[in-house]
């Protein structure tokens, strides 16, 4: 069983990847749940290409219809088919969150490794600034900026804004990781045997950082999804573009709750929950698997039972 879980390095990359997925499905229910939810989300997103309506067109179908065979998720007061609107909404929210994660984590990785490898006064001064950004509540700042840019905040700009405010905590953690790795014996062994610093980082340190980055990226993803939803519900983003948040905004605007058009709220709420739970399950199971220490522990437990 141990052989199946840790494929031999000699095995073909294709086969190894296949074996990893088989193992994960066999041993980690969280992975299966996450992967299924994620596949559904992605398939749903791809459907947006087939949409018969443009996402910004209104009054293309009769308004306020409850879910039926013709309109699986019902229609909105704006005369839009909620099913097709949701395909765009999920896609756009994913794009915003993905971009925000890339922007925020890039800053964090660069800054964190720089501070971790440099040390000294520069490190201390910049670290205390980083610590400040961790404590400062970011939502009022986000709202302040979004309120000033009201109406001009496109999707990429929104992603940039969220990303620019989400680097402090991950940067602190990368720095801590790098500091630990720098002190490890194998780093010194590698350095003394003539490996160049960059090679040491890429060959010896990155494998340790990968599960860490994966877990961290999902944290950033969850934050970005939450902030997109929050800012949109507050009416601070481009409300003409369907996202999870703007869909809820319009549902609130037409008082979907009070007038009994529940489906209009349930669709984006359910989609958000399925999406974040899926991503989170997938990421925890993957980072557990990628970390050799937890994988060894899990193996030992399997062997014992």
């Amino acid at each position: 069983m141990a052989q199946a879980i840790v494929p031999a390095p000699a095995a073909g990359r294709q086969r190894a990847a296949g074996a990893v997925v088989t193992d994960l499905v066999r041993f980690s229910p969280a992975f299966t749940v996450g992967a299924v939810l994620l596949l559904i989300t992605l398939a749903f997103t791809l459907l947006s290409v087939l949409s018969p309506y443009d996402p910004t067109d209104r009054h293309v179908v009769p308004a306020d219809l409850a879910p039926s065979l013709a309109h699986p998720l019902g229609t909105t007061s704006l005369g839009q088919d909620l099913f097709w609107i949701m395909t765009f909404a999920v896609r756009n929210s994913l794009i915003v969150a993905g971009l925000a994660v890339v922007i925020g984590r890039s800053i964090a990785v660069v800054l964190g490794s720089f501070l971790g490898y440099t040390g000294g006064t520069v490190d201390r001064a910049l670290s205390s600034v980083t610590d400040s950004f961790i404590v400062i509540p970011r939502l009022p700042l986000l709202i302040l900026i979004a309120a000033i840019l009201k109406g001009t905040l496109s999707l990429p700009a929104l992603a940039l804004l969220i990303g620019l405010l989400d680097w402090a905590w991950p940067s602190k953690r990368y720095r801590a990781q790098v500091l630990t790795l720098r002190e490890e014996t194998f780093t010194q062994t590698a350095a003394f045997s003539g490996m160049r610093p960059l090679t040491v980082i890429l060959r010896e340190h990155v494998p340790f950082l990968v599960p860490f980055i994966l877990a961290d990226a999902i944290t950033g993803f969850l934050y970005a999804i939450g902030m997109e939803i929050t800012l949109s519900i507050l009416g601070l983003t481009d409300l003409a573009v369907p996202t999870l948040g703007t869909t809820i905004y319009w549902a609130n605007y037409y008082q979907a709750l009070l007038s009994g058009k529940l489906w209009w709220l349930i669709a984006p709420v359910a989609a958000s929950i399925l999406m974040v739970v899926g991503f989170y399950q997938l990421s925890t199971s993957l980072s557990q698997y990628l970390d050799p220490r937890t994988r060894a522990r899990a193996l030992a437990r399997r062997a014992a039972t």
Partner: protein
């Protein structure tokens, strides 16, 4: 004395840095934005009346003076601090001339109450449940609890609040969905009861999310402590399990959780703001929401500055409480 130098002083310094950084960002951001808030405001105000060039010009300089936009950026920055240190955040634009600080003070008790109670409750619940669950990782209740928490944790605040609204508005209409209290304010039992009644759903949604996070961290920390020599020794020595969990495991895994609380308090405050909007709860978050709706830029800036100072101070107080729980820092 050494505690003062090695523990209190660096934290006071960090507190000052947090405030300076936060205030500077709040100062710089509106000035770096590509749009012109002054022109926007001018457009809104002069759009209502007949446009007389002289009147528009004087209105313009009045707005510029009110925002402190005259002079070089450095002068502006200096004035910004002067006003702030005097506790003067300017008047609200919509409830003119009520000072922004007064509007924030009115809303503050609601937010502190909501955030305070949910923080304490979720911290204790998360710590206790997480530790117990780590101690019995294979029991059915432990696995159910862990699965539940893993599911709740990633859900955004607003979405969870909406789920509660949907459920409690239609299926179990037990709790009020909006407002903070009903009836005439006073120390009557009815009024106090209505406060608790109204706070129930907002607090529940906050407690759920915060407990989930605390639970996951506590569970991970406790399983680390459980495999430590101290616990193995205690078990071998035949110390009762309940005592091991409360005296050894919980106490040890509690310490990083206190530090973490200081770092997370800003994020938790954000959650409280969002929850207040979702339930129309009359705290700072709801004030912020109405300020956005009415484009009351001064009030938004005021809330931002106030939150920076307030959260930095809250984090400082939590840090100062730490030596009370960790004797190692005390006897350093």
């Amino acid at each position: 004395m050494r505690l003062l130098v090695s523990y209190v002083f660096p934290r006071l310094l960090q507190w000052a840095v947090v405030i300076v950084v936060g205030v500077t960002v709040a100062f710089a951001v509106p000035r770096l934005s590509p749009t012109q808030p002054v022109d926007q405001m001018l457009g809104r105000m002069s759009g209502m009346t007949a446009t007389d060039p002289a009147a528009v010009a004087s209105l313009r300089s009045a707005i510029i003076a009110m925002y402190g936009l005259q002079g070089t950026p450095l002068e502006q920055y200096g004035r910004f601090w002067q006003h702030l240190l005097r506790g003067d955040l300017g008047p609200s634009l919509t409830a003119f001339p009520t000072p922004v600080t007064e509007m924030i003070w009115q809303a503050l008790p609601w937010t502190i109450g909501l955030l305070g109670i949910s923080t304490i409750l979720s911290w204790l619940l998360g710590l206790a449940l997480g530790t117990l669950s780590a101690y019995r990782p294979h029991a059915l209740w432990s696995r159910l609890l862990a699965n539940g928490m893993v599911t709740i944790y990633p859900i955004p605040y607003f979405i969870l609040a909406l789920v509660l609204v949907l459920v409690f508005a239609y299926y179990v209409p037990l709790f009020p969905l909006v407002g903070g209290a009903s009836g005439p304010p006073g120390l009557s039992l009815d009024y106090l009861g209505s406060i608790v009644w109204h706070a129930f759903l907002p607090a529940l949604s906050l407690v759920l999310v915060l407990t989930a996070f605390r639970f996951l961290v506590a569970r991970a920390l406790a399983s680390g402590v459980l495999s430590s020599d101290a616990v193995t020794f205690a078990e071998t020595a035949g110390i009762p399990r309940r005592r091991i969990v409360s005296r050894y495991v919980m106490r040890n895994s509690m310490l990083p959780q206190i530090t973490d609380l200081g770092l997370q308090i800003g994020a938790m405050f954000e959650g409280a703001l969002i929850t207040e909007v979702a339930f129309s709860y009359p705290g700072i978050g709801y004030r912020l929401f109405t300020a956005i709706l009415q484009s009351d830029y001064n009030l938004i800036l005021g809330v931002t500055l106030f939150s920076v100072v307030g959260i930095a101070t809250a984090a400082l107080l939590i840090d100062f409480a730490y030596p009370l729980f960790d004797p190692r820092v005390r006897y350093q």
